[in-house]
Symmetry: C2
Subunit: 627 residues, 2 copies
C-alpha cells in the first residue's frame, strides 16, 4: 500500500501511452516477455512466473534479488553500489527490484536459493507467492544495562533484511508482549509496516480476505497467505439494494438526501463485516489474525464504501475522486479484523472502468498475453477491454438493465425459479435454477431464448417476430406459443397452467427482444470500435473472456448468435468466472501483482464512447442479429 | 514524519559513534561547518543558516536545491541524472537534498532565486523557515469529456514540484469542495501528505501548535508557520498531578492498577486539548486550521500520552518502547485540530534522556557549536549534556525532588508565596513570587539560601551549620535566626509573627541542606564524569546552559557557589528558558531541524551512570561545597 498517486513506473522511464513495450529475455529459462517501459525487472519476472530470490518482496532491503544484465543498459542505483563490487557492476550485476526496464534487456537469473511457493489463481494463472503479509519468529536477547536498545530497535535488528515502519498500535503493546513472552515473539509485517508482535511462534497463522464488492452481490474469500489456498468463501446480497439495483439509482440517492451517503457507506460496510464473520467462523480463524484485506469494486461501490461523494461519477464528464486509494486500512472499511490491517483497494481506470475491471484484467493477465484477447464484463454497465500484448484499450458501454432482468416483462435475477438455459427443438427445453417450476427469465435465459428464436426463424434478423403463418410453416410444434398479450406479440416459454392460459406463464415479448437488442448493440458497438482503434478485425480475436456474475453463465453459442460477441468458434469464448474476486486475491498473494494493478492504470488507454461521432451510426448497425 | 526507525543518515554513510565529523565549507559565503557523516548537505546548510533554494523542502521532487561540489567526492543519485546533464554532473553539480556528506566537501551555493524567511527561535537561533506545512492556491481547469483526469490527478498535476501522498480524508471531501469552489482551491500539504483541500485562497492561514509536555507543567504555543511568529502561548498544570508529582509515582500507578494507564493517557490528552482551545481562542484561530502539532516530553510523559506501557522505563535496565514515534497524528494525542494533522513527537535518546532533552539540544544547537558547552536540565531527574562540536555526551542524574520543593521542610513549587531569591547581608533580603508574604521556599530560593549561608559562613564546606557562637561572631545580625526545632538546627528566613515565634515561619533545616547536597552532588557527578569521558576539565567549559522550568530561574552565582555547575565566571552561565518548547517549535518551522532531531539520536553517546564503579566515590567527593 502507500502507493503514491504518481508513484507509477513511468516516472522511472520515458512516458508511454500504452503503445510501446520493451522486451525482456530471461536466461537460462529462455523466456521472453514484453512489458511496459519502466517496470521493475523483479515485477516483470514475477508476473511471468519467473522466480527471483527475495525475502523483502522488492523493497530494496534484503539485497537478495541479484540478476545479471547481459545485454542492454541499466543505470546503477545507490543500492547496487552497496550490494556489488565494481567488477560485478561492470559485469552487469544489479538488484532486480531496483532495475527499471526502459529498453530491451537480456537478464540472467541465478539459480534460486529457496524455491518460492506458487498458487493457481485468476484465469488459470500460476502466481508465485509473495504476499505482503510476512511473519517472522525471533528469539531476542533480554535487555541489560549494557544493552539498552529500545524494544523496537531490538526487534528490528533481528529482522535486518527488512526496513520496518512501526505502527503506533504496536508500540502500545510491544513492551508487555515482549516481556510476557520472554522476548520470544512473532513480528507481523505487512509490506514494510510492523503491525503487531505476537507472543511465541505464530508463523503458521497468516490470513487475509479478498472482497468482490458488487452492486448486487458481495463475495468474500478467506485466504491462507502462507499457502495461497482459500479457506472459506461466502457471498451475500449488497445491503445497499433498497437504494436501487444499479449504481445510478444509488448515486441519485446521495444527491437527493445528504444523509444517504452515510447510510450507503454503513450498509456496504455492514455487508463486508457480516461476510468477515461468516468466513472466519467457517474456517475457525480468529478475525484478529486477518492482517490484510483487498477490495475490488466498481468506482461507485468503491467510493460509497469509503464514504467518498460519488456524484461526479454519475454525471458527465464522469470524474473519479482518485484513481488509486492509497493508505486505506481495514478499519476505514468498517471491518473488524486486525485493527492495524491495511486494505488494498483496487484502483480504477475511470468512472466506468473500476477496480473490479482492473482486478479482472489482472486475473486474466490481459497485459501479459501475446494473443489478441477481448474481455467483456456483462452487466448494466458493460466494461470491454481489448489487448494484443502490445496495447490495451478499454471502454464502457451502457447496456442497461436487461441482463439483470430489468425492463424485461418476465425478467428476474438469477435465483430459484429463473430460466437460465433455453433450447428450442420440436419442443421447448428449459433449465431452471433450483430445479423448480419456472417463474421468470434471467439474463442467460433471455440471451438463450432470443438466440434460439433467431435460429429457428421465429425472430427475423431485425428482431421482429415473424408472421404467425411463417412460424407455423417453419416450426409447427412451437407456433402455438407465438401469441399476443394485448397488442404485443409474445413467445411463451412456459405455460404455468394449461396451454393457452397466460396466467403465470413465462414469456418473451417483442419489447423484451428490443431491450436485449439495445443492450447487445451497445456492447458490440464497444468492441467493434475498440477493434477499429487497435487496427484489427473482430474475427481475428483469439480469445473472448466473458466475466462478471452474468457473463460467466452466458452460453457462448447464444452470445455469438445474437452478436453480443464477435462471430468466432465457440471454443475461443471462455467463461472467466468471478475475475474481480480473483484479482483481489492475487493482490493479497503477490506484491508484484499488486504493483501490476497500478501499472495497468498507466498502460490501458481508455476510449470514451459517448463523445464519438461514429457511435450512433455504429450502434444502429449493431441492432440487427448477425446473418 | 513517517521517519523509519532505521531511516537515519548513518545508513547512507559509514557508521559513526559520535566521534567523527566531516567538514563542509560553503562558498561563496565562506562558512565552514562540521556535521555528522551521512547528513544531507541540504540539512547541514539549513542548520547553519545557509539557505539553498527549495520548494519541496528536501523531498527530492522540486529539483531546485542545486549545488556544485567543487572539492570532495559524492556519488550521483538517480535524481541527479534527471536534474543535470553529463557535463554538469562531471562538474560536480548535485541536488543538495540527495547529497550525503560522507567526507570533507567544498560546496558552492548558487545565488537564491527566492529569499526564504527566517525566525529567531530556541536559544537565539536564526532558523530558515521551511515548515512541513505548505499551502498552495491553484486555479484548475474544469473537467470535460476530453479531460477526464481524476480530481486528485488534476490537483497534483498543478503542484508538480511535490510528489503528494493523499489522505483518505481528503478524497472524501475533494469532489464537493472542488466543485463548490469552481476548481479554485488551496491544497493543504504537510510534508508530502495532502491533508486537505480548502475552497478559495486560504494560503494566509497556516497554523501549528508546539507542546512542552512536562511532568508538572504543560505549555502550548500557537505558531503562524507562514511567518514563524507565535500567536498565543498558554500553560497549565499537567492534569496527571493527582497520580503523583514525578514520573516514578505515575509509572507505579500503572503497575498497580490496569486502568491507570488509560486514565493517565486521558488526563494528559485533556490537558493538551484544553490548551489547544485556549491558544486558539486567544489568537482567534479556527482549530481546524491547525495542521500540525509537535510534542516534546520526557520519555514517560511521551509514553503515557500515547498510551504506551511505561513500566520498562521505570525499572532497570530502563528500556524505551521506541526511540522515534513515527506516523503519529494529532488525533492519537486526543487533539481536536485538523482531523488529519500529523504530530511530530520528539524522539528520545533513552529512558531518562527524553524528547524534551532532544528538543533542548536542538533549541540550543548543542550539535552545531564549536564551543565546549554544558547543558543541564535541572529537575527530579536531571539531564546533562556535554558537547564540544565534535562529540556529544549525555547522561541522566537522579537529583531527587529537592529542586521542586519535595523533601524540603518548607519546600513548595514556584508559585505565589514562594521565596525565589535570597540575599544575606546584615539582614535577610527575600524576593517572593507574587509579591505576597512568604509561605515557603522554591528550588531557586533553596539554592540561593544555601549558597548565601555558605558565603557568610553559617554553613561550613561540609554542609553543617556552624556552632551558634561561631555564627554570632561572623554575622552577628543574622545569628538569632540560627535556632532549633526539636533537635534539628534550622535557619529562619522569615518570621511570620514575632521574631522567635516559629509559627508559620519559613526556614531551612539541616536535613534540607543535606537533601540539596545530595541533589547537587548527583548533578556534579554527572558533569564531572562526562568531562572525564570527553577528556576536558570542567573549568574549560565555555558555556553552561541551565534549562527547564527550574534551571532557568536559578541564580548563576549561587549555582557556582554550591557546586551545582563548574566553577566558572557567571557570564558563562546562561539561563536557557523553556528549551523543550523551543525545540518543538523549531521542528514545526523547519523540516531540516526536524531531521536534525533524528540525527542527534545517532550522534549523542549516552553514558549510563548507574553501572559506573567510580560513581559512588565521585558522588561522595561532590557532596561538599567548593572552597
Amino acid at each position: 500500500m502507500e502507493a503514491r498517486p504518481h508513484d507509477s513506473p513511468s516516472h522511472d522511464g520515458p512516458a508511454h501511452d500504452g503503445s510501446g513495450r520493451v522486451r525482456l529475455r530471461f536466461t537460462p529459462a529462455e523466456r521472453e516477455v514484453r512489458v511496459p517501459p519502466g517496470v521493475m525487472v523483479f515485477d516483470a519476472a514475477s508476473w511471468n512466473g519467473i522466480a527471483i530470490d527475495s525475502t523483502c518482496g522488492g523493497h530494496g532491503t534484503c539485497k537478495k534479488c541479484k540478476i545479471q544484465v547481459t545485454s542492454g543498459e541499466v543505470p546503477i542505483s545507490p543500492l547496487d553500489m552497496r550490494a556489488f563490487d565494481a567488477a560485478q557492476l561492470r559485469a552487469g550485476w544489479r538488484l532486480a527490484c531496483r532495475t527499471s526496464a526502459v529498453e530491451d534487456l537480456v537478464v540472467e537469473v541465478p539459480p534460486l536459493e529457496t524455491r518460492p511457493k506458487a498458487a493457481t489463481v485468476g484465469v488459470g494463472r500460476q502466481v508465485i507467492l509473495r504476499p505482503a503479509i510476512k511473519k517472522r519468529y525471533v528469539e531476542l536477547a533480554t535487555p541489560t544495562l549494557a544493552d539498552q536498545r529500545s524494544d523496537v530497535d531490538r526487534l528490528t535488528a533481528a529482522i535486518d533484511d527488512l526496513e520496518l515502519r512501526v505502527d503506533l498500535h504496536v508500540l502500545r503493546r510491544l513492551p508487555s508482549v515482549m516481556r510476557q513472552a520472554d522476548f520470544h515473539v512473532t513480528a507481523v509485517i505487512v509490506d514494510d509496516l510492523l503491525i503487531d508482535v505476537e507472543a511465541g511462534d505464530t508463523t503458521a497463522e497468516c490470513f487475509a480476505i479478498a472482497f468482490d464488492l458488487g452492486t448486487t452481490t458481495v463475495v468474500a474469500t478467506l485466504l491462507d497467505t502462507g499457502t495461497g489456498t482459500p479457506r472459506a468463501v461466502a457471498s451475500m446480497l449488497n445491503k445497499q439494494q433498497p437504494f436501487g439495483g444499479d449504481v445510478i439509482t444509488r448515486i441519485s440517492a446521495t444527491m437527493l438526501d445528504p444523509e444517504a451517503l452515510g447510510t450507503l457507506q454503513s450498509l456496504a460496510q455492514e455487508t463486508l463485516r457480516e461476510l468477515v464473520a461468516e468466513v472466519c467462523a467457517e474456517a475457525e480463524v480468529d478475525p484478529g489474525q486477518v492482517y490484510e484485506v483487498a477490495l475490488a469494486g466498481n468506482a461507485v461501490m468503491t467510493a460509497l464504501v469509503l464514504g467518498i461523494d460519488p456524484e461526479p461519477l454519475g454525471v458527465a464528464p464522469f470524474i473519479l475522486s482518485s484513481a488509486t486509494m492509497p493508505g486505506v486500512r481495514a478499519v476505514d472499511l468498517g471491518l473488524r479484523v486486525h485493527p492495524a490491517a491495511p486494505a488494498v483497494v483496487l484502483p480504477s481506470l475511470g468512472a466506468y472502468v473500476g477496480g473490479d475491471i482492473v482486478a479482472g484484467m489482472l486475473a486474466s493477465g490481459m497485459d501479459r498475453d501475446k494473443r489478441l484477447r477481448l474481455f467483456i464484463d456483462v452487466g448494466t454497465n458493460c466494461e470491454i477491454v481489448l489487448g494484443d500484448g502490445e496495447r490495451i484499450l478499454a471502454t464502457a458501454a451502457p447496456a442497461g438493465p436487461a441482463f439483470e432482468g430489468g425492463a424485461i416483462r418476465c425478467g428476474m435475477r438469477a435465483s430459484d425459479g429463473a430460466i437460465e438455459v433455453v433450447r428450442l427443438d420440436d419442443e421447448v427445453v428449459l433449465q431452471v435454477i433450483g430445479d423448480v417450476a419456472p417463474v421468470g427469465l434471467c439474463g442467460s435465459g433471455l440471451v438463450d431464448a432470443v438466440a434460439e428464436l433467431v435460429r429457428v426463424g421465429i425472430l427475423d434478423a431485425s428482431g421482429r417476430f415473424v408472421p404467425e403463418e411463417t412460424a407455423t410453416e417453419m416450426v409447427p410444434k412451437l407456433a402455438s406459443r407465438l401469441t399476443r398479450i394485448g397488442k404485443e406479440r409474445v413467445f411463451v416459454l412456459h405455460w404455468a397452467g394449461a396451454e393457452g392460459d397466460l396466467t403465470d406463464a413465462v414469456y418473451l415479448s417483442q419489447r423484451d427482444v428490443r431491450e436485449l437488442q439495445f443492450a447487445k448493440a451497445a456492447i458490440a458497438t464497444g468492441w467493434s470500435l475498440l477493434c477499429e482503434e487497435l487496427g484489427v478485425e473482430p474475427h481475428e480475436v483469439q480469445q473472448v473472456l466473458l466475466a462478471g456474475s452474468f457473463g460467466s453463465y452466458l452460453s457462448a453459442s447464444s452470445a455469438v448468435r445474437i452478436g453480443l460477441v464477435p462471430r468466432l468458434p465457440v471454443l475461443r469464448i471462455v467463461s472467466a468466472g468471478n475475475v474481480a474476486g480473483e484479482g483481489a486475491k492475487m493482490t493479497l498473494l503477490s506484491v508484484p501483482e499488486r504493483a501490476g494493478a497500478t501499472t495497468l492504470l498507466e498502460e490501458v488507454h481508455y476510449v470514451e464512447l459517448s463523445d464519438r461521432p461514429a457511435f450512433n451510426d455504429r450502434f444502429v448497425d449493431q441492432l440487427a442479429f448477425p446473418a
